[in-house]
Amino acid sequence: MSEIHPQSVHMDIPATTMDRRSFLRAGLGGAMFLGTVSVTAGLSGCATAPAGRDYPMPEAMDRSYEFRFLTRDDIVLFEALLPAMVGPGLSGEPVVRRQQVQATIERIDAGIHQFGPANQKELRGLFDLLNFGLTRVTVARVWSSWENASTETAHAFLERWRTSGIGLFNNGYIALTKVSNVAFYGHEDHWHLSGYPGPPAFAVDALPQFKNNA
């Protein structure tokens, strides 16, 4: 049974109070608050449009991929989170490591493009909540901007959401880790980390669909 890309995430989250009962009470008001986050995020200078080829990464060497969902802020967010998500599997060589992070973020974008409008909307809400300063601090409890967040900060954030007694945060954790884990470990470049040898060579050699453009 597989569960591959992210869960849809419902962040019915009030701005300040963090106790569980207030979450349960949030209901419709919470959902409307989330809408406010997205609007406010745009008004306050957060990136709201897909990044296209406008990479926020100064070192990006290959800018041929066109982002169709992730914004510049989302890309910065994943640059901060990926070292905590999959860092131990990344290369120790800085140039290779940067390429691996960039390619993984591009695959995350490509995957989310196929999710369709409904789950894209859920993820937009989650990413806006993490990117918008007020909610980043009050809800995710990450004090520094993602650009300046250390791997330890990102790891601590993920641990808080994983171990939280609040289902919404667990759901957010699953969504973030699932898109990242699948885009990273699922790709041929990283199969060696799981010990997966790839499709059987005899079948690849024998099958017609691999003949022309393998």
Binding site: M1, H5, N119, P199
Partner: protein, 530 residues
């Protein structure tokens, strides 16, 4: 070995196949019957009606993919062949929904397990829902016929190690196990059923009934989304549909109107209620979308002492029904035990975690085994299933509250799965639960399960089997269609998919859908031809 591709040959020979993405102007077409959906139900219906001489139009929202596209690549397959790019979930995000979205529907991506509807299920339907016509005796010829059509027989090759661990564990504990019947012909035993069969061995709709229908002049539109059935007085006049762009995600703006004498909806337990709700189909007792079932699945993984290679070999060949009906058809939640294949993307998505721990866990893949439990929902008053409703944009969404009755079944299944894995020699076992460590003995695991919270999100839940939502029954006050899939209130509408099941099946449902669709289509062909 089958290397002859029926789809490529048929397209060359002039089959009527239209790719919605290539349409440049709005248009209208007409046939005797329009069938919405090309999975187990739609494919079967199309072949039987077309062979009876009726003109048939098939409508599929997903795209046509076939052997040339099936390259044993997980990321490509999950993005193109599954609903919502494999991100579909229940409305609170607690259950991940695996469902096909392509020509052939879920039969193009399922793991080929093919069971007859269990007799206790059919007998329960007769006594509880007035479906006496579906007794095991009455259904036998339909199962026989479909087993022949889809080449279904018990897997004769040795099970792969992943499946054999389930067998060994059951054997050691004195629990029953059986060999799974599979719908394959000349199977290479590769292990890639879930990403589109690369060898055309799988005998799903894509390689059997869809070609059968197209050989008999049916017209297939793929990349075409069914928006609304439009009524004129008390009958459906036409289907309004939207062409999808080549990415399969966004509508291109081109619309297609499909007129017919009769309409068959076979768009799945989520898609069919969604279409009926969008169409304002008469529903005086508010039954559309109610009682949707999932066979909720929980899972454990084991680290074995020797190589398992769980990514190779027929994905499912052994099962155990020891705990399925043993406490009565409507007693505590029963479950069927099977194993899933484990490829790296799937494993990375199923095993929850991050950082060094996640890398350590996934690096065990070559020696990893997994067991899954499929809970039989819908048979007990405390298991009324979920509800399909529409989002603001008209897309269907399933709300499925996990009741205490189901949680008890989940917990019972965790015990049994861990016990089986240790009995088969596992060194360590971990539950797919956010709080589960790796347990190193059955005693540890048992004590751990005693204390783990059975709660949404913390327990990782999945479903590959969506059923119900347009339930059949004798009483129109509690069902949408009768025992032949005929709508209670709209004379020229039938439903031929898993959405008509009044409960879950208690086994992988594809053969139940094939058989019921064959029976109901044979009757429909007679009615429409006379």
């Amino acid at each position: 070995m089958s290397l002859t591709d029926r789809i490529a040959r048929g397209l060359e020979a002039g089959w009527k196949v239209t790719d919605g993405a290539r349409l440049t102007q709005n248009q209208t077409h007409e046939a005797d019957v329009v069938i919405i959906g090309t999975g187990a139900g739609g494919g079967t219906t199309a072949e039987i009606l077309a062979r009876a001489g009726l003109s048939v139009i098939l409508v599929e929202e997903g795209r046509l993919y076939y052997q040339k596209d099936f390259k044993m690549n997980e990321l490509d397959a999950y993005a193109s062949l599954y609903q919502e790019g494999m991100s579909r979930v229940t409305s609170d995000g607690a259950i991940a929904i695996l469902q096909g979205r392509c020509v052939g529907g879920s039969t193009t991506v399922n793991w080929t397990s093919s069971f007859r509807t269990p007799e206790p299920t059919l007998n329960h339907w007769a006594s509880r829902f007035g479906l006496d016509g579906l007794s095991p005796e009455a259904m036998r010829p339909w199962f026989d016929g479909r087993e022949q059509r889809h080449n279904i027989e018990p897997w004769r090759t040795n099970p792969n190690v992943n499946n054999d661990i389930l067998r060994q564990g059951c054997e050691a504990l004195g629990w029953s196990w059986e060999v799974i019947p599979r719908n394959v012909k000349g199977c290479w035993n590769l292990g890639y059923c879930g990403v589109g069969c690369p060898t055309n061995a799988k005998q799903g709709a894509l390689t059997t009934t869809i070609p059968g229908a197209l050989d008999n002049n049916a017209h297939l539109f793929h990349g075409l989304r069914a928006d609304r059935l439009v009524m004129k007085q008390d009958r459906i006049d036409h289907l309004q549909a939207s062409a999808m762009a080549a990415d399969g995600v966004s509508p291109s703006g081109i619309t297609v109107e499909l007129k017919a004498k009769h309409f068959v909806v076979a768009a799945s337990a989520i898609g069919s209620p969604g279409l009926l709700l969008r169409s304002d189909i008469p529903d005086p007792h508010d039954r559309i979308g109610k009682r949707t079932f999932l066979h909720p699945v929980n899972a454990t993984v084991a680290e074995m002492p020797d190589t398992v290679d769980p990514y190779y070999g027929a994905p499912q060949s052994i099962y155990s029904d020891e705990f399925n009906f043993s406490r009565g058809v409507d007693g505590p939640a029963g479950f069927k035990l099977e194993v899933p294949p484990l490829h790296p993307a799937m494993s990375a998505g199923v095993v929850p975690g991050h950082g060094q721990q996640q890398l350590n866990d996934l690096s065990k893949l070559p020696r990893m085994n997994s067991v899954i439990a499929l809970l039989r929902d819908g048979f007990h008053p405390d298991s009324a299933g979920g509800t399909v409703s529409l989002r603001d944009d008209g897309s269907p969404v399933l709300d499925y509250p996990v009741t205490d009755y189901i949680w008890q079944g989940v917990k019972d299944a965790f015990y049994k799965m861990a016990e089986i894995q240790f009995a088969a020699g596992a060194r360590k076992v971990r539950l797919m639960h956010l709080d589960s460590p790796w347990y190193s003995s059955w005693a540890d695991a048992r004590a751990g399960i005693d204390n783990l919270a059975m709660k949404p999100h913390r327990v990782r839940l999945f479903t590959a089997h969506q059923m119900g939502g347009c339930g059949m029954g004798g009483n129109p006050e509690e069902s949408v269609v009768n025992g032949f899939g005929e709508h209670h209130h709209v004379a020229n509408l039938s439903i031929h998919d898993a959405s008509i099941f009044p409960t879950s099946i208690g086994a992988n449902p594809q053969l139940s859908v094939y058989a019921l669709a064959a029976r109901n289509s044979t009757r429909l062909a007679q009615k429409l031809s006379s």
